[in-house]
Symmetry: C2
Subunit: 407 residues, 2 copies
Amino acid sequence: MQSPELQSKLESLVRVGVALSSVRDLDELLERILDEAMSLSSADGASLYLRKGEELEFHIAHNRSLEAKMGRTGMSLFYERFSMPISRQSMAGYCALTGKSLNFPDVQALPLDSGFQYNPSFDKRSGYFTHSMLTVPMSDRLGQCVGVLQLINSMDNGRITAFSPVSEMLVQAFAAQAGVALVNAQLDLDLKKAHQETLFRLSSAAEYRDKETSNHIKRMSHFSRILARDAGLTRDQVDMIFCSSPMHDVGKIGIPDHILQKPGKLTPEERVIMESHAVIGAHILKDSEVPVVRQAALVALTHHEKWDGTGYPRRLAGEAIPLEGRIVALADVYDALSSRRCYKEPWSEDRVQSFLVDQRGLHFDPALVDLFLAGMSEIRQIQSLYQDSDSDLEKLTDFSKIPIPEL
Amino acid sequence: MQSPELQSKLESLVRVGVALSSVRDLDELLERILDEAMSLSSADGASLYLRKGEELEFHIAHNRSLEAKMGRTGMSLFYERFSMPISRQSMAGYCALTGKSLNFPDVQALPLDSGFQYNPSFDKRSGYFTHSMLTVPMSDRLGQCVGVLQLINSMDNGRITAFSPVSEMLVQAFAAQAGVALVNAQLDLDLKKAHQETLFRLSSAAEYRDKETSNHIKRMSHFSRILARDAGLTRDQVDMIFCSSPMHDVGKIGIPDHILQKPGKLTPEERVIMESHAVIGAHILKDSEVPVVRQAALVALTHHEKWDGTGYPRRLAGEAIPLEGRIVALADVYDALSSRRCYKEPWSEDRVQSFLVDQRGLHFDPALVDLFLAGMSEIRQIQSLYQDSDSDLEKLTDFSKIPIPEL
């Protein structure tokens, strides 16, 4: 390759590095890495493996010829999720183990002393012919392998050629960028998970005083996320509702035991106190500079308003109720009715759905009721994922006998 | 510049891009950006501005000649934190406004039609002579300016020269990498802030039931952070204690009002129930996959153990008590004694310190007591930053009159 061509490739490498670093979503990043690596090396196909412990997990693959023939979806049928050990038994495993690349002009005719055998199962299933193959490890800054890129069939004017030394060098430099981007996306995901998990734990701590269970918080925040997404909000807005909705009842901490835990019906005076949890929640969360906490304050304040203006604390009606409040109102009530409590059996799905239809335009935003009913299959998945167990419903009675958990 | 030289510069640009993307701390990143930009362009000095709203804020600067003469610290005296509007009145403002770079071979002799005047105040204060100056905007992926890099006096064998077109191109490509890295560091910081803030809010929600104030949580978690740092823990460990310590009393949610809010002394039976908050907290937080929540469970369980083995719930002694638990025990008690509660006046600093000394090796880890007393100046700063106001101490009485906050 001539130097000006190398120069232009290096320039595109710089551009690609910038592009990669700005992708913070892991799935999107994996796609991007694969596409860019293929275009840098003129490869027809590629696979990406991520390290998990002492194994490499296959994540995604692309193949331009096969996709042209049968489309990406048809193509995806040829791939199976699988793992392989990090060892010298496979090319990808070898690269992960040693931190070195492998560049073979024709894997159908591997040198006997290479120590590798080509596994023809993919070619057999798909009718494809793999010849040249470049396998490159992706590492973090300390040289720890985080994944492996495998590029297949370098193309030159429609002919399959070997991957050139320059391609190998470019892909290696690119793999360093990809490695750091992967680590960053993973750290980002870890931080978001820690945030979400802490929110769930602290928000559901109330189960020790309340009649709710911790799975109620999980289910209703998933329902809220689904509704927000189906209402057409952006991904960031959807993520934010997922994080703010668990805090909707934080104000109940201010409600005295004798009212919060009263078995029977509340008196009008007690009801006033009970209803003040919306305002107390808003006080606990108000005046934050952090967007998710500001939204949580709004949700706490407005999740008992009703579409027809008969809710509390401000008797707002229709779109004067913030969308987040309308979403959480529906998600919260749906879960309360459809699950067991220590004082009631769960309602059947039919009965809860009839209730939503009855309250369409009265308690609930009619458009949200329609979206919710249209998305019931996903709602049922969440319900079966986060089922209450009997022990979730037991309340604390003997404080001297709480077992000390193993930590 | 010859093509091989450009090639090697481009290669280092790729390396630098990888290095930048792996720095997740904002201050470290700013230093790194400045150093790399100076070395890419052989500049003797550089300044970095970050955009804040419609202004550019000066953040850091380096100057190799001046630093060689008087050291970085001496040098830093010549810099003042200042802001300038994003407008055509200044070079940096112009670059931020237009997204274009400015490259002047000699700012002492600016062309009349340039529209700029060089402000000689820094040269006058420091005895330096600024000649060539390259000003380059740093943008996010959508082209929004996030900051400006200003490079001073390109050096060639000890002589000041103009910044070459190749240097300008390289710094522009680098500025794109720096822009994305800055955005990422900022997003990271935002996420951490959101996490911290949510923790503080939810953990201190208990103030509505308890005799604690929300500033207690802030102060004791800062004290814990300072102790962890002074005990020689890593930065990540210190950050984690800062995040886990606010949750130490989450188990109090399981304690009935009549015990938690009892004005006088507890009976032995009531004390058993009260002390169960450590175990309840561990139950609320146990079995998490998220490291900070796992640590919080451990802190909740062990923050009432005492060094001499007389604490609860497990009567652990000495180093059998996890360090996190020993740290939080000291931080929590110090703040409880030194601040006002609705039932007691604050102890004087002398009295609290004598108490710590008395309890050195009894209640508290002796090494931690020594570290705490040695770091009192920083402890006092935290106390004055998070002072309780009288309204923090008022408890909720009339539920029908809680004002609805403006959100």
